[in-house]
Amino acid sequence: MTQSLRYKSITSINGPLVVVNNVQGVKLNELVEIEVGDEIRVGQVVELQGNIAIIQVLQGTAGISVGQSYVRFTGDTLKIPVSEEVIGRTLNGLGRAIDGGPEVVGEKFDVNGAPINPVMRLPPKDFIQTGISVIDGLMSIIRGQKLPIFSGYGLPHNLIVSQIVSQAKLLKKQESFAVVFSALGISNEEADFFRVELERANILDRTVFILNLQSDSTIERIVAPRVALTVAEYLAFEKDYHVLVVMSDMSNYCEALREVSLARNEIPGRRGYPGYMYSDLATIYERAGIISGKKGSITQMPVLSMPDDDITHPIPDLTGYITEGQIVLSRSLHLSGIYPPVNVLASLSRLMKDGIGKGYTREDHFEIYMRLFSAYAEGLRNKELSSILGEETLTSEERQYVKFAEAFEKRFIHQGVDEERSIDETLDLGLEVLSILK
């Protein structure tokens, strides 16, 4: 855009927000470029008042100066070029190549996407085998679903995610499969860990990395998952890929959202997070699913850390209201050496019932799931009773359930980080553990 306007009229800077005066014809959500020395930073117009524009700078405001830095309005929203060549590449949170290779060229798409027309959605149905018994057996992931991992600081969610990504397969014929991994404020080591694991699993050439690391701009984090999903939508709905999108850690995303909101003097909601966080998260999580007439699909696995392991904290709470279930990790199982430490009672896959059983997994899957679940719940209850009242107060039947619960944790839930169990193995193992009862 050569004819676009350039202004030198910044009047105030507050956190990520920059106010520019005397502008004309500026549009809401327009992309803005700010010259800081030789560097060009980008931002978005978030509010307009008469001839004043408020801009949210995505790459930090350090060095921007009042009355000196130039601001250029591009007249267009934030768009990224996407083509199939993006597979195997590493991009930053704004969708630009950072792996030393050439910039991705292709058709440009608005990173904000658009809501899928509800009547065009197809209900998700196909079972995805992760090779992890506790997930496949009790909280199956279905293609087109959004199933988050609720973790806590220090819990092995990265291991679990990399195991899922490495082992995930559809039971029916193999179709083109791609992984879009969006790092949101995680450390360089964590990002490297994923790269190494995906390389080991030999799927690096099917993966797109969108990296916004701890050291990168916080505000860029607001755009990064949208870039990831724009790439995913292109691959799924234009190129027929089945895409698994991993976004880790969504808690960092929410922190960034809070930072911008408070800088804008908005009335804070619970714990200082903006009142619109539910709607905002929905514009990310709802970009999953299957569309009638298209061959591909988007399955989402967001990862988030529950501050203080509190599931009622706004981040897991609002997420749980949007996603179709949750996989909750347990610190106490982790401490007892169980991997993956999944809290079975608190976890749930809402779409499971539509993707298991005859034609998908095995006819007895649902029944085994119900039996395992209720026996484990019973076992835990009795265990709790015995720890309060003493083991001798339990009847022999009650003690059997306690034994079952222990075996269930050690043999069914627990498995190696490289151990891949087919759904048949998982269900047979379930039956075997159930035989402890009686």
């Binding site: 549009k27 008042q49 899928i116 027309n117 009335i267 009142g275």
Partner: protein
């Protein structure tokens, strides 16, 4: 010719726009905003400035863009062709939009709310010339095999009917009648008419609701009933089964017409509901459910302001069918998302926040919505009703938050969902100690006349057993089950049977999902009979262990999986068995 009333944008913040210069703006007036003509509504006027909530994505708007006022309120178009539709919050038909705009809904897309080309077979039921008044039925159209769509004189018109077309095929915009209004002007009446969504439709009088809205869900019908024309709220944390329960009600209820408003919820859930509505068959008519339904789908990622209007649109369509003399059920999932839309709107307009940032008028808005429910005598003298059931999604599952509390101030039935029950996979996870229904009195006569005069006695007996169980469990948690007497342990057994055989219900199982009130009552009778016999045996010093070994509880549980006839038959046999087997047990003679 009327002058075009327009102004200019002076401020844009999210989906709220401030414009100035619109001559004589009207509160709640519809405006077209910017070059794309986005639909908006004026919701604040101060001096020559107006605040507008824009119902579509506002990206690309700029200061100086024009705003055109349309001189009318935000309205729904009501007429034949509305059933089986899927609308967004602005009554845009999503199926039509998909046909020409593809898989995604973008800003500025327009489509007719009703099909204006399709012809319907109209049968007049009135003879001109005669006097007519608003709400009177002048004709009918079989909209589908299930529902007769009655054509009404718009409620705000009255006068003398000077002409009415004969039986024949007409579109919704063809003139079917001419009315000479009291003021003298001639009004052309068509099959479709417009009605402002935020204005309740008038009726002749409110009646006392006295007939249950049967849902086939035992814990609701038997324990905490709702009536035709009643209001209920179902709050619960995520994963506790709000949506599953409401969808089950929508599929099984004995209402004539069901309006389902998916307000700020999941896209995949709407897709699932649509598919089920197409394939599932209405129990009474044998027709696909979709024929008696209208779905409003404004998913969580669709524009927030349209969430606000989706609720009003839904209730207006519901009232329209009520006015034809139908029993209508409106389901809103979730009213919390609606309240959040109000909060966001209020915050963008820089209003002073009330509790937790919600606007001070939250309570009155909720009341305004729920008060549109009721059983009425319509303007045409028919009996119609509108029941409203709303999901509430309290943050962190904490019922003390404003939306739950303000809702409970208004509604008469509270189905409180409990995450502990959900963890135990006790579904529907409606907590029997917390929940209540203020309609028990209202529906007593119906139960007496149609099912059994024993309903209230049984209900109270079960509730008191459950309450006692709760007290006993507190003792057990403190000092162990050893501290309980035989009788107390017997109470725990009965409570367990009530929970397993009566309250728990598998929504996924074909035979279990719908429980006819007759079947529900039969199960309750058996349980109560078992209670009597068991307690009597205990008082005769029969050891509890011996009775429990008979495994009667398990047999009662099996009743719920049987179809109605079989269940009635088996419950009769089971009662015989209970008395025979328990009386055979020897009692412990004390030395």
């Amino acid at each position: 010719m009327k002058m075009m009333r327009e102004g200019k944008i002076v401020r844009v913040s999210g989906f709220v726009v401030v414009a100035e210069g619109i001559p004589l703006p009207m509160m709640n007036e519809v405006v077209l905003v910017g070059e794309a003509g986005l639909i908006g509504e004026i919701n604040k006027i101060s001096g020559n400035k107006v605040s507008i909530q824009v119902y579509e994505e506002t990206t690309g708007l700029k200061c100086g863009d024009k705003v055109i006022a349309l001189g009318r309120l935000l309205s729904a178009e009501l007429g034949p062709g509305i059933l089986s539709q899927v609308y967004d919050g602005l009554q845009r038909p999503l199926k039509e939009i998909a046909e020409y705009a593809g898989s995604f809904v973008r800003a500025g897309i327009r489509a007719r709310r009703l099909d204006h080309e399709k012809k319907w077979h109209f049968v007049p039921v009135k003879e001109p010339p005669s006097k007519v008044y608003g709400g009177e039925i002048i004709g009918k159209v079989m909209e589908n095999e299930l529902i007769e769509h009655r054509i009404l004189i718009p409620p705000n018109i009255r006068g003398s009917l000077i002409s009415l077309v004969g039986e024949g095929d007409y579109t919704v915009v063809d003139t079917v009648a001419k009315v000479k209004a009291t003021a003298g002007e001639i009004i052309e009446v068509k099959m479709a008419h417009e009605w402002p969504v935020k204005v309740p439709r008038p009726f002749a009088e409110k009646l006392n609701p006295d007939e249950p809205l049967v849902t086939g869900i035992r814990v609701i019908d038997f324990m905490f009933p709702i009536v035709k024309g009643g209001t209920a709220a179902i709050p619960g944390p995520f994963g506790s089964g709000k949506t599953v329960t409401l969808q089950q009600i929508s599929k099984q209820t004995d209402a004539d017409v069901v309006i389902y408003v998916g307000c700020g919820e999941r896209g995949n859930e709407m897709a699932d509901l649509l598919e089920k509505y197409k394939t599932l068959i209405d129990l009474r008519s044998g027709r696909p459910l979709v024929e008696r339904s209208v779905i409003i789908a404004n998913t969580s990622n669709m524009p927030v302001a349209a969430r606000e209007s989706s609720i009003f649109l839904g209730v207006t369509i519901a009232e329209y069918f009520r006015d034809m003399g139908y029993h209508v059920a409106l389901i809103a999932d979730s009213t919390s998302r609606w309240a959040e839309a109000l909060r966001e709107l209020s915050s963008r307009m820089e209003e002073l926040p009330g509790e937790e940032g919600f606007p001070a008028y939250l309570a009155s808005r909720l009341q305004g919505f729920y008060s549109r429910a009721g059983k009425v005598r319509t303007l045409s003298g028919k009996i119609g009703s509108l029941a409203i059931m709303g999901a509430v999604s309290p943050p962190g599952g904490d019922f003390s938050e404003p939306v739950t509390q303000k809702t409970l101030q208004t509604v008469k039935v509270f189905w409180g969902l409990d995450s502990d029950l959900a963890y135990k996979r006790h579904f529907p996870a409606i907590n029997w100690l917390q929940s209540y229904s203020l309609y028990v009195e209202n529906v007593s006569v119906w139960w007496e006349l149609n099912i059994s005069e024993r309903w209230r006695i049984l209900r109270e007996s079960m509730l008191s057993v459950l309450k006692e169980e709760d007290e006993l469990m507190q003792i057990v948690r403190l000092i162990g089950s050893g501290a309980l007497s035989e009788r107390e342990r017997a109470i725990l057994e009965i409570a367990r049977v009530i929970r397993e055989a009566l309250l728990k219900q598998n929504a996924l199982d074909f035979n279990e999902a719908y429980s006819d009130p007759k079947k529900t009552l039969a199960i309750a009778e058996v349980i109560d009979y078992y209670r009597e016999q068991l307690l009597e045996a205990i008082s005769n010093n029969v050891p509890l262990e011996k009775v429990l070994n008979l495994n009667i509880g398990k047999e009662i549980e099996k009743l719920k999986t049987l179809p109605l006839d079989k269940c009635l038959e088996e419950s009769f046999k089971l009662k015989e068995k209970i008395v025979v087997e328990i009386s055979r047990l020897p009692s412990l003679v004390r030395a």
